[in-house]
Amino acid sequence: MRPSFRSDLPTDGQERDIVQRARSGDQQALAELYDLYFPRIYRYMLARTGNPAEAEDVTEEVFIRVLGAIGGFQWRQAPFAAWLFRIARNQFVSYARKNGARRQDTPLAAGVPDRAPDPLIRVEDRLFFEQILDVARALPQAQREVLWLRFAVGLSVSDTARALGKREGNVKVLQHKAIARLQKLLAQSELERAADRIAQP
């Protein structure tokens, strides 16, 4: 069984210590933060852009922005993850604004690397991933944002709310709508695939 999707997050105490040192310019702590959050930011960007190369670019830009902003981070305003993903979200919005027209035509998940050890799982996972990315495009933006922050990144409802500047109740509603809608879209997608298979000689 695969480990829980949030099992690699540090405890609050550990994270506070790392962030505190990073705020003071400790290079080791900055490296630790980078290692902790790079995969998550990348996952979020991959879900948002649907393209690994773009996800890499924007992820890198997010960390450069973090460097400039972390000195002003304050715990009492938001947990670190919520603060970080707020930056990530803004960076994506800025990126999408600049590259809007080009991004619309980006092929989904092209070149996504395979990493699962078992080839069978790899194919199945990849298909599921591509299918999710594909059908999620039909969701309203607010639902998509909640979906990716909750399930691609692994943020709690509370942190998702803070990252998006929404209330927790609002995030719960969006989460419910997103999953319910996704379920219908996936079923529809399965039907279409089945129809394609039957239609093929």
């Binding site: 980078y34 991959l46 691609a152 319910a180």
Partner: protein, 469 residues
């Protein structure tokens, strides 16, 4: 009610299932009344939580990590000290507590005891309420009864913040707070009133007006850049929620954030330029693309230059070795040409006048999909992206080394590529951000360091440099 409850249950179960605290079956057993509806959503949510989102390419991740750490070393994180509302109070333990009134009144009568109790209760209640209002006002939004308390607290704190940098820091914080309030109101789908936008303008405008690259620390310039960029995005997004009466203020706010962003970017360019002495940065207010007129731009020394008619625009003769792409622009005969056998610079005069600057729109030049201007400074010219070419900043810098022109491509809080041209000599340097540091690169390297369109612009600027020594 029922709907809300189901969302709560779903959220609780998803959290428990994705973090491994409960199995799906355990959750369903807890809420049997929702079983049919809950089960498919929980299974999908669980699968999403376990979904094999691809990991970043390890080689890229390693290289990006190196670049991040190099950038961290090049630009050390500057911790910002928390600002105190009031100077620290004297240590209370040193105080000697004494009765305020030294009056022997004996045992109070019954009414006195009641009155004293009520007075104490009132004081405690008043202090408690005031403390509550002050403590919770920080998160309040316009329209909330605590909001005036929040603004009052901010004003008091600003009054007791001393030092130019600290006050500017706090003013930036206030502008960020006003922006955050607009975002919060929009997220709750509240109408954005005129007064909310007015406050945004009034906190941002003074920051931008006082943005002098020589005196503002780079981290503050960076914050103002980020602030204005986010303002631009936010104002575009919240426009449908803006009160009809506030449309004019919305436009004003957009102008302030847009112009503020341009100014902050220029300041960043100067802050990041290597070896630039404390000179003067002069923004180039280029004419609107599409208006092929020529006119003077502000002189770096502040000395007004006389207006020039469009016919006075001249493209200087190309310098030795400098190719020109100006064949599609009118090139009137120069009045005098320097002899090729005398490459020496003209003999200096005692007080050289500031060179005349002109900007001419080039409608036929669409290199890299941008609009272009011809910038002429005295006997010197080069092509630069016109206003409205997003992500490109153009500035003139006047320092000990003479006048320089900077054309930079702005990306995510910094310049990834830029061309610096020394006007007096016609010498052009290309600089690029390589592994976290800015260094000079050759034209041949440009394409391997920056994206195609950025390289096209940089090389086009370089090729267009014309100087008559």
């Amino acid at each position: 009610m029922m709907k809300q409850r189901f969302e709560e249950v779903l959220a609780e179960c998803l959290e428990a299932v994705t973090t491994g605290q409960r199995t799906i079956e355990e959750c369903l057993a807890l809420y049997p009344q929702w079983r049919d509806r809950l089960e498919p959503l929980l299974r999908l949510g669980h699968r999403l939580g376990q979904a094999p989102f691809p990991e970043p390419d390890s080689a890229f991740r390693e290289k990006a990590r190196e670049r991040f750490l190099a950038a961290a070393q090049a630009r050390p994180v500057a911790p910002r000290q928390p600002r105190r509302f009031l100077p620290a109070l004297p240590v209370l333990s040193r105080w000697r507590w004494r009765p305020v009134f030294n009056v022997q009144i004996g045992r109070p009568a019954g009414w006195r005891r009641v009155a004293a109790t009520m007075a104490v209760a009132f004081i405690i209640g008043f202090v408690g309420f005031s403390s509550f209002a002050v403590a919770t006002a920080g998160n309040s939004l316009p329209g909330d009864w605590r909001y005036p308390v929040k603004r009052l607290t901010e004003r008091a704190r600003l009054t007791f913040t001393f030092g130019e940098d600290a006050r500017r820091e706090y003013r930036i914080h206030l502008a960020e707070e006003r922006l955050h309030e607009v975002q919060e109101l929009a997220s709750q789908e509240h109408q954005i009133s005129e007064s909310v936008l007015r406050q945004l303008v009034e906190t941002t405008e003074p920051l931008v007006n006082a943005l002098e690259p020589d005196s503002v620390p780079p981290d503050q310039i960076q914050r103002i850049t980020d602030l204005t960029a986010e303002q631009k995005d936010t104002l575009d997004r919240v426009a449908p929620l803006v009160d009809q009466k506030a449309v004019g203020t919305l436009e004003e706010a957009k102008v302030v954030s847009s112009e503020g962003h341009d100014k902050a970017m220029e300041a960043l360019a100067l802050a990041g330029s290597q070896g630039q002495s404390a000179g003067e940065i002069q923004s180039l207010t280029t004419p609107e693309a599409g208006t092929p007129t020529a006119g003077p731009v502000a002189s770096p020394t502040g000395v007004p230059t006389p207006a020039l008619s469009p016919s006075a625009v001249a493209t200087p003769t190309p310098a030795q070795g400098a190719s020109t792409s100006a064949s599609d622009t009118p090139t009137p005969e120069p009045t005098s040409l320097p002899s090729e056998s005398t490459p020496e610079a003209p003999s200096p005069t005692a007080t050289p006048a500031a060179p005349e600057q002109r900007v001419t729109f080039l409608p036929d030049d669409t290199t890299a999909g941008l609009k272009w201007n011809l910038l002429t400074i005295g006997d010197f010219s080069l092509r630069v992206p016109a206003d409205g070419s997003a992500d490109w900043a153009i500035s003139t810098l006047t320092g000990d080394a003479g006048e320089r022109i900077l054309v930079g491509h702005y990306q995510s809080g910094g310049f990834d590529a830029r061309i610096m041209v020394q006007v007096s000599t016609g010498e052009a340097f290309i600089q690029a951000l390589v592994e976290g540091t800015v260094r000079q690169v050759s034209p041949e390297e440009v394409r391997s360091l920056v994206s195609g369109p950025v390289a096209d612009v940089i090389l086009h600027v370089l090729e267009s440099v014309n100087a008559s020594p």
